[in-house]
Amino acid sequence: MDVQTWPTGDQKWVARYRTSIAGKHVPAAALEARERELLDAVREAGLPAAELFGDAAVLATEDVAELSTVDEAVRTSEGGGLRSALREVGGTLVSFACVAVLLMLIRSGWSVDVDVAPALVAAGVVVVAVGWVVGRALFSAGNPVAMVRVLVAVGAIAAGAIASAATVGPDQVAASDVPVPPLGIGLIAPGVLALVAASRMPQQTLREDWDDAEWLRRFRGGLRARLVPAATARGHVAEIEQAMGSGAPSAFAEFGHPLVLARELAEADRTARARRWWVATVAGMGTPLLIAAVILGLGSWEALTIPVAALLLLSAVITLVVGWGERPWAKGR
């Protein structure tokens, strides 16, 4: 729904409502219907939305609880298809490119000599980062075999790049006095293109044609991807097989999409919830701390080394504080 449809005085309120509800797994159709309902109520009452419904963010939180669906969560989150993976690849490429451009500007000014060996190593690192994103997406999609294949392939490419860099040696220059702005644009462009392509892709729909064996494989993979213990996952699979033996027409017809069911069961598993919390908290804290240690060790940001390391440290502390507030053993279901 176009925001202009709303009375001028309510448009800010609607924008805040939309921002608060975005990314919370509310299907577009449900959101559209809810907004229409709110607009009708505003027109009928002849009152501003803020007066009629109160704070937009509070209403959005209540509506998320009512309208969000696991189907939408699976469809839009990591592992939900090419769109989400491409968006994350784009974000990774843009981040790497921005850091590279900043480092070039800090260390070499407006022009730079491109050495072959560091360029090969950097390319290897980018391949590993992109491969990691793709591998994680496949793992989340309940496809661990494809994930292993991707990780092995990117590992081989990265090893090849590093071996080539070692063979070439440190003194070989690919290009001298390259102006940083066009080089920077060239580095950032692939990531931006990936993000644009992702934003233009149609909304993913959940697959509906499954044979039972594949459904069970993906269901098991989906449970393991949500960190359900192996024995519990085996139990769930056996129970589904038992139910199918009792006359269910097909796994999809009876149980719906395998990743949706896996996600719901994983949400109800205490051990899986605790494991997901630990992984998210340790990775969220460990990654910035590791990067800060590397930056401090190498002094690669020169005058900005301490501020950048301090920002990373702050990010780790924020992750810890936010994570502690979300710790599963202190939360009721």
Binding site: H236, E239, Q242, G245, E254, F255, D269
Partner: protein
Amino acid sequence: MSVAAWQRASLPMLVLDVLAVAPCHGYGISQALVTAGLQPIKGAQLYPALARLEDEGAILAQWEQSESGPARKVYELTAAGRAQRGELRAEWDAFITAAQAVGRAN
């Protein structure tokens, strides 16, 4: 609101009601609901509801070896589940009483 929607909303209470009679496996719970005149419940709704009740400690799941076939997962009510069933039943009865009062007033 359709019967299926009412059934989905009250599923935890219905499951606890079935298990209050005797321990049962998932398919048996579904069959008990149908026998009582309710609509067949899809596994996509039943199994997450069972997992949530198990997580809350309201029911306990155990694998039971069957004589004629593979082992079956059987659910039984716990003491906490009996208390939860009592609370849900009281809420449901209060709701029905109030809804009937509204119906009679009109």
